[in-house]
């Protein structure tokens, strides 16, 4: 579904990605784990078209997406919930969800998806007329995921959805990610919380200073001694 081949990217003179390759097949949850500064967010920014790779290929559903503008990439069904949530703080919860559905032309489907988001995150329905900036961190993360769901993604990119959240809320969000996946959404999950991510992922990649150093199924990586030492604190 998504194919990243030998992609390099830099910010100014600093090389952030040094020829990474990864793929995501339809129906999978794939996770990309690694330390701070390994290049995880840059990888997602390149996929979403917000940062242009210096070299390498990026194809989604067989189409070359490197030259595409971000809003065209969203229209293909490749949607990102960014790091740090980035909800629109002075817009209401409902308006934030509406922005998620910005590219859609099927009002009936959008209506159904509001219900779907509200049933997965009932707190969002309770707060739907509140400005998003007044929500707690966990609620904002739920909103960020819900907002991306409103775009009806075929492939959902999630950047650090557990960042700074209480364990109970992290568990809830990972549960929702699995539910979405079971309902047919493919997921590429970037996480520092490697244990949680590898538990729900079909496959995973380990990114270290701009290079993919390991890959395997979630189970394999969880059992790998190097992964355990570096990312699982064992």
């Amino acid at each position: 579904m998504l194919n990243v081949a030998n992609m390099s990217a830099s910010y100014g003179a600093i090389d952030v990605l040094k020829g990474i390759s990864l793929r995501v097949e339809e129906g999978e949850i794939v996770t990309l784990i690694g330390a701070n500064g390994a290049g995880k967010t840059t990888t997602l920014m390149c996929i979403s078209g917000l940062h242009k790779p210096r070299s390498g290929q990026l194809t989604f559903l067989g189409q070359d997406i490197v030259p595409m503008a971000p809003h065209h990439i969203v229209r293909l069904g490749l949607v990102q919930s960014p790091e740090g949530r980035k909800v629109f703080p002075r817009m209401t919860v409902a308006e934030n969800l509406e922005m998620g559905a910005y590219t859609r032309r099927d009002p009936d489907g959008v209506k159904t998806d509001y219900e779907r988001v509200y049933s997965l995150f009932p707190v969002l329905q309770e707060r739907k007329t509140q400005p998003a900036g007044t929500l707690s961190g966990g609620e904002q993360q739920m909103l960020a995921v819900g907002r991306a769901m409103m775009a009806k993604p075929r492939l959902l990119l999630l950047d650090e959805p557990s960042l700074g959240l209480a364990p109970l809320i992290v568990a809830r969000i990972f549960e929702v990610i699995q539910t979405l996946n079971q309902q047919g959404t493919t997921v590429l999950l970037v996480e520092q919380n490697a244990r949680m991510a590898l538990r729900i992922a079909h496959r995973g990649y380990v990114l270290e200073t701009g290079t993919v150093t390991m890959e395997g199924t979630g189970v394999e990586l969880l059992a790998d001694s190097r992964v355990q030492a570096a990312y699982l604190g064992e």
Partner: protein, 317 residues
């Protein structure tokens, strides 16, 4: 005394409406690009030359009844479209190529565009149009004819004067502002504008074509300036190729005092500026206008540095 106070209220509100309309253009563009479009006041100025030209072309001086009303509507519509188009073209030709450049580059370019537009205004003012008064004096102020009926709506004996043009300026401005509020609050474009202003990267990730939204913002801001140009000209009855500079600076100040980037703030700042100016002219003296006006505005900013309706705290990340 009461009549004086009320009279200055009318004067302050009418002037304030013009400032508010121009301030909206500054604030909307700033809200999205964090960029001061210094040419904005000159879009306003140049459109007033179009307004005067059209008044001559349609022969509105001395017209009355339906032909006056129809002609006036046509002038307003044409000028709003002209202002919108001019502002849009400036963005596409000058600012858009500089979107990723260091912030001083578009700023200096905007000042450059401002001078170019003034030069165009000077040229326009030198055209031999009858409505310009024969007009070989390019730099001379042009009289804008008082085409609206000049009688006191409150009756000839009243100590207070309320002219049809006062009602037109205040009424039409309110209608335009209400329409703008509706668009920004409820339309899909308006929501995309707010989303882009609050977080452009997130807006892109939602599939919003940010470039298109920026273009639309310049269109709307230019349209408001074009509309403001007509009502200013009808009200003040003089236009001049340098009037965009002072009025633009006043309107920009209004936007900052109201809270730059904040739409209701621009309206509030504009009205406040108009009222303070009117009362200071009446009670302190017009020769002290700039000192009093800006003294008060500086005081406001000392106590509310982000402006009256600007957010006082940094947003939580």
């Amino acid at each position: 005394m009461l009549d004086t106070i009320l009279q200055q209220l009318i004067i302050g509100l009418t002037n304030g409406m013009v400032f508010a309309l121009v301030a909206l253009g500054y604030t909307m563009v700033y809200g999205i690009l964090e960029f001061i479009n210094f040419a904005h006041g000159d879009v306003f100025m140049l459109t007033s030359f179009l307004a005067l030209t059209l008044v001559g072309l349609f022969d509105l001086q001395g017209a009355s009844g339906a032909s006056l009303a129809g002609g006036l509507c046509l002038v307003i519509l044409t000028c709003a479209l002209f202002g919108a188009g001019l502002n849009y073209v400036i963005d596409r030709l000058v600012y858009k190529p500089l979107r990723k450049a260091p912030k001083l580059a578009p700023l200096v370019s905007a000042i450059g565009v401002s001078f170019i537009l003034q030069n165009l205004g000077l040229f326009w003012g030198g055209m031999p149009l009858k409505v310009f008064g024969g007009g070989n004096q390019a730099a001379a102020p042009k009289a804008f004819p008082d085409i609206l009926p000049a009688h006191n709506l409150l009756g000839a004996g009243s100590g207070l004067t309320l002219m049809p043009k006062d009602v037109l300026v205040i009424g039409a401005s309110l209608v335009v502002m209400a329409a703008l509020y509706g668009v920004v609050r409820f339309s899909k474009l308006g929501k995309a504008m707010r989303a882009t202003a609050q977080d452009p990267a997130a807006a892109r990730l939602m599939g919003i074509d940010v470039d298109q939204v920026i273009g639309a913002t310049f269109l709307v801001g230019g349209g408001l300036a074009g509309f403001a140009a007509v009502i200013y000209s009808l009200y003040i009855n003089t236009i001049h190729y340098q009037m965009g500079y002072q009025n633009g600076l006043y309107a920009f100040t209004a936007a900052v005092v109201g809270g730059i980037g904040n739409i209701p703030g621009a309206v509030l700042g504009g009205l406040l500026l108009g009222l303070v100016r009117a009362y200071s002219d009446q009670f302190i003296g017009a020769q002290w206008q700039p000192a009093v006006l800006f003294g008060i505005l500086i005081l406001i900013l000392i106590f509310r540095p982000s402006g009256l309706l600007g957010s006082t705290a940094r947003e939580k990340v």
